[in-house]
Every structure is written in structure tokens, then in C-alpha cells.
Symmetry: none
Subunit: 442 residues, 2 copies
Amino acid sequence: MATEHRTAAILAVGDEIVLGQSLDTNSRWLSQRLFDLGIVPVEHATVGDDLGAHAAAFRRLAERADMVVCTGGLGPTADDLTRAALAGASGDTLVEDAGALASIEAFLKERGRAMSPLNRTQARRPSRAAWLPNGHGTAPGLAGEVGACDVFCIPGPPAEMRPMFEGHVRPRLKPPTDRAVRTRALHCVGLGESDLADRLGSLMSRDRNPTVGTTASGGVVSVRLRSVAPGEAEAERLLDADEHEVRRLAGPHLFGADGETIAGAVVGRLVARGRGLVVAESCTGGMLGAMVTQVPGSSAVFRGGWIVYDNRAKVADLGVPGALLGAGGPGAVSREVAAAMAEGALRHGRDRDADTALAITGIAGPEGGSPDKPVGTVFVALARADAATDVRRFSMAGDRESVRRWSALSALAMLWMHLAGAPATRLLREIEATTGVSGTGA
Amino acid sequence: MATEHRTAAILAVGDEIVLGQSLDTNSRWLSQRLFDLGIVPVEHATVGDDLGAHAAAFRRLAERADMVVCTGGLGPTADDLTRAALAGASGDTLVEDAGALASIEAFLKERGRAMSPLNRTQARRPSRAAWLPNGHGTAPGLAGEVGACDVFCIPGPPAEMRPMFEGHVRPRLKPPTDRAVRTRALHCVGLGESDLADRLGSLMSRDRNPTVGTTASGGVVSVRLRSVAPGEAEAERLLDADEHEVRRLAGPHLFGADGETIAGAVVGRLVARGRGLVVAESCTGGMLGAMVTQVPGSSAVFRGGWIVYDNRAKVADLGVPGALLGAGGPGAVSREVAAAMAEGALRHGRDRDADTALAITGIAGPEGGSPDKPVGTVFVALARADAATDVRRFSMAGDRESVRRWSALSALAMLWMHLAGAPATRLLREIEATTGVSGTGA
């Protein structure tokens, strides 16, 4: 048993990963979490479903780090070998755990399923290891030792892995006590990573404490701060000072910290202002509604949506004038139709106290582009009960999925800027804005 | 020098990867490419910018595989240590290569930049290694040896790594000539991994050829086949035979192969039957619509949707009887309301030739559960113009996001089973089915 966890190694197991059929995202996530806790990851390794290779990896990594987290190989089938590999690496034998068995049985029973002999193997563990409860699946985890190294084994599916790490691994961790490491992420929308880096300037030099870095993912650009200090209070104070400066430099683009999402920030501000939101989606097909309703408590502000991918639905459900869609009109992907969709949604949403509407229409590809309106052309409209409709044209890059994600995100960014009191802010990938356009005369 | 490359190891280098700041996608890409060429990846490893750890990784992996591909650590700065690590692992010394230097100079000159002392270090290589040209950046690659193992080092940025692999590593590879390796994935919905394994039975024994394994991800369970044979035709024939058997054993649960999705399979079948689909979503908030419209060409069958997260929207947009929602009624999360939502959507969709409607209402959490209807309780209804409405009650596990994903997926699975001619198939996490229920008398 390690007295302190200063270093960690991460082991991912599975033929599907080592052969390239699946992308391992667990190792990155675990590294971030451990590093945030002050434990330094020193190596990632991935081996296939091979008992010898897996046990050898356990033994080797146990020499290299104070602790190992292993993901995968805990399923019910013959190629799930983590239980046996841990026993092998620690010179132990497998026993059936009555508590684990009862937990699997209860999980299955709750879902109207019976225990199979395969599920029963999931209750096995090395005799000197403990089992870790899994609230989201049948595979219990394991906490054991190989030599002086603490080894934690948790399932591969991220929806099971993450809560198990937080609930059952993290409480068993022993980060170094002679120093405190603290991290904070600050999230921005509507600007690019290099724009943000330009704004941050010398904050990003590598020899500072805190260190300041940027990452970009799916339209959100994040500033990551990491401070090291003798004590927690000092580490937090260093972060607070830098956060203050980053907020000043990023301005209204900054919407939240750490686990916050742009949808969550928008919902929070709509709640605070007592507003009601409706959405009208063409090319995104429901993705914007799905993002908003992903926020717990969004029911306080989300008043509904219309997925009007089909032009007949645009007319029938939202009252978009047929003339806009027909020959000679501007067409379904136009500022006029975006405005008509948002204004129609607002009109239909009045019976449920909606006063804010977002609409998206665009060409997600791969087909449907033209020289005037290539794939990636997207119009987003924001209509409000108390102000003129704002319509922006965007040029999104990437494949169908990227264009759709960026479209939904840009709609939220546009609403965020209005709510943040910076309605004129030009957004990343925006190529033209028009305020006061109306599609319906409503 | 290995006479043949039967096995490979992949090494990724960089603090940003091992600390979790960046996600390594190179190792997966390289594994896929190597495996397609008949070379079996046996391990991935990631180490930080640390000379000792990097050289040790080269030596260890050289014992484990016939070849190693290393990405990263070839930049111009002090933390780029791949050149030195390869020299250290092979007992060699670094020399400056005139050809590499000229190539870097030419690359910079073309872009109006001058050679810096830092760039000059990129022309160094172990004396017994060769340099590999890089058409997209300043970092040359390396081809060297550690013991009998061939080692290829290429830069980390995917835009440089991929063309260098194709242009300069691949021609140096020596895949086994005595065998061909082929893989195939077959995807299923509506059953658990252990159910599927039970059906596959002895197909999954580890000494077969093809090998047959299963993986589960987000509600889809996949069967992975891998054959090894003296020639490609024979390897394909082995896969075909096993695919035939897997299809027989999985029955209607199997919906597609390799890159196919359940939404794609459902859309394909709706297109083939000339049907039109509408959706009504409460707890999923648009996610089902987003999944369907993610399929290119879904516009041929998708006729629109209503996001009726708010009860007032259920009444106003879909005609759900208010009495079902009020005190004394079954409530918003009930079989009656699911049926009324689907039937209302169908009625409203008739003007655009919809004949099939899916509706979802449930409790995604974290709030809103009750003893009768805990978080995870979800009703899915399928209404059709030509058949009685089918409503199923599910008990979903996991957090809000998981409950919502599983709900949307289960709705697609339910429709798939109907389209596959197996309407009575009980689905994973389904706890009760009722056919002929109607919420509206429509």
C-alpha cells in the first residue's frame, strides 16, 4: 500500500482499443482528474485482452508509479480478463464476493432481468482485493495492490467509469500533503483559440505560477489555470488573482468555470431574468433543444420547440410564409426564413409565456450546397417580445455533425451575448449580421 | 532489422498527452492503418517529455514487437526529446544530417522565414538512423533500430503525421506475406452484452478463427470478428461465414455493420418502405430528432417534430388532453400521455404525409422521481396510421444524459423491431409493453 500517491499510471484494456476500433477517451479524462487532485500521471498504457500482457502491464506500472487506474476488462464475457490479471500480478487467487453478487443481482432485478452464469463471474475478485460498487451497470470495480502500488480497476464505458471514479476511487486517493495543486478552467464562446491567446499575452509564458494554457473543443475555448503552492489557501489565492485578470481580458466571451456549459449559463441567466425560451430548428433537427434541456432545471425556462426540417412543417407549424420557400423566394436557408421561424415560434409560444426565440436554418451537408450558399452556410435568428429580431449568417467548417454542433452552439453564444449586455459582439465564424429583419411582419 | 513486421507497438510522447491536456488520436489512427495492412498492434504507450522514460519505453517496446511507431517529440524546443531518446535506446550518438538541414531550410524559405538555431536541432539524428522527409512542417522523421526492432518516429500533429506515415513509413513496412487479417463489426440493439454473448455461445471461444468478441457502447452492442488466413479471399470468406451465423443468432436485434448507426438503419428502412416519420419529445428535448437528422438523406423520411418538454406545449401543440396531465390524471410521465403524444404528432403530421410517430416522455433526473416512478422511468410510444399504438415502459440507468440517450436509442430500437418484422421483441431495460392503448381516442 502506497503511503502517498504522488504519481499515477493509467492502463486501458481491450482489443478494440489496441487494434484501433475504439478511441480511448478514459485515459485523458482520468489524467485530468488526477492532475487536478495533485497526483502526476507519468504514463498511459493500452494492452489487448491478453492475460499475460495485462498482468505484465500491472507489474511494470506498479514499479513505475504509486498508483494505477485500469479501465475495461470487467465485463461478463470470456475476453474480460481484468479480474484474473490483477490476481495474477499480485500472486492471488479469485474468490466470489457475496456483496458484489448481491449488488449485481439487485441491479438486474430492478430492470426485470435474471442473473446469468456470465453475470455471476463479475462478482469474482482477487481474495485480497475489495470490490467497488457500480450504480450504473453490472460490473463491480476492484481496489487491490501489486507490491506497494495501489491498483484501482473500473469499467470502460465512460458513463459507468466516471461516477465510479468520483464515488469510489477518489475517496481512496492519497494526494501529496506537502504541496497543494489547484486547477480551474474558464470557458469562452464566440472567439478562436489564437484570438484568446493574443488577449492573454504574457499570462501564457511557461515559467509562471499559475500556468495558463488554452484548449479548444467543439466551439468552446477554455483557459486552464494550474497553481502549485505550499498550502491550499495560497494555491486558491493565486488562481483567484489570475481568474480576475482572465475575466477582464476575455470580456463577455467568458461564460463560466469548470463544469459549466454554455447551455447551463444561458439557462441560468434566463431563469434569473424570468424569461421563457422556445426554439425552431431546421438543419440541427432538435440538437439545440437537446442542449438546452440537458441542463437540470431547464424546465423553468424552456417552453418547447419545433423541429421543422421539412418545409411543410415550417409553414404548418410556424406560419413561415410559403412565398419565402417557393420559387422566386429567398429559400429555406435565408435570413428571411430564419427570422420567420423565430418570430413564428415566439407567436406560438406566447400561450406558454415564451418571450425569447432562437431559430436555426442552414446547410449541414454533405449535399445541398450551392455557389451562393455552400455547405456550412447557416442563419441563426433571435426574436424577442421586446426588441427587433437579430439574424446572423455564419460559415461553419467541417462535416455534417460539426456544422450542426457549431450551429446550435452559435445560437446559444448569440443569446448569451445579448444576455451579457454585449449584443453587438461579433462571433467566431459569423460573416454578416442584420438587426430588424422580419420574416413575417409579425 | 526485423525481417518481417508481424506485430507493432505505438508510442505517443508529450506531457500534454500524459497529463490529459490533449487527447491522443494518433495511436488509434496508426493502429487501424497497421491492422489493415496485416500488422497486429499489441500495445500503446504514452510517456511525457522525459528522456529516461522515453528511452526506456523504446527499449521495452522493442522487446515486445517487431516494429514501433513513435509520434511526437520532434519539435524544435528543449522538451522535444525523441531524437536523443532514440540515440540513447540504441546506444548511438547524434549527428547533424545535411539533407535534413537543407530540407528544413527550404521549407522555411518557402514561407519567408529564416532558419533559427532551434530549427537547426531538428536536423539531428542518431548516426545509424535515416531521416524521413516532412512535406507539412519543419520536423523530419526518423527511421532507426533498437535491437532487432524497427523504429519509426514521426511528428505529433495529425496533419503532418498522417501524410508522413503514408508517404515514408508505409513503404518501409514488411507485413507478413503468409497471412491476411480482416475485421468486421456487426451492431445490435435491444439486448445486453451478456444476452448477446449467451446467444453467440461457442463462437466466442478464444481459440477460434475468426475470433469473435463483443463490446457495448451507448446502448449498441457490437460483435467484432477478426479472421487470419493465408490470403485475403480466404480471410473474407471466414468473416462471411461467421457473419451469416452471427446474423442468425442475433436475429432482428442486428441492424448493421461497421460504420452503420441505428438511426441510419431505421432511416434506410423507412426510405425503402416509403414511410414518413414525426417525433414528439418531452424528456429527450430534441435528441431523438437530432439522431434521426444526423443521417444524411433523412430529409426523405423525417417530417418534423415537437419538443413538448412543457405540459402547456403538450396540450397546445399535440392536443394531449389536459385531463391526463392534471390532478387525478395519470400525469405527464405515463403510458396514456406517451400514446397521446404519438397520436397527436401523427395527426398533425398527416398534412406532410407522416404515417409513423415516435413519442418519449420520462423522468431524466436528477429531480422529479417518485416511489412509483423513479428517475429513469420512461415511456416510449409508437403510433402508426395502419396499426394500434404500442407503448413500452422502460427503466433506464445512469445520469440525466444517459437516461436521455438510452431513451432516444430505445425509441429507435422499438421502431427498428417493428420494421424488422419482430414487433413483439422485448427490448433491454423494457419492463412492460401495452399495445392498443390510446391517449386521445384519435
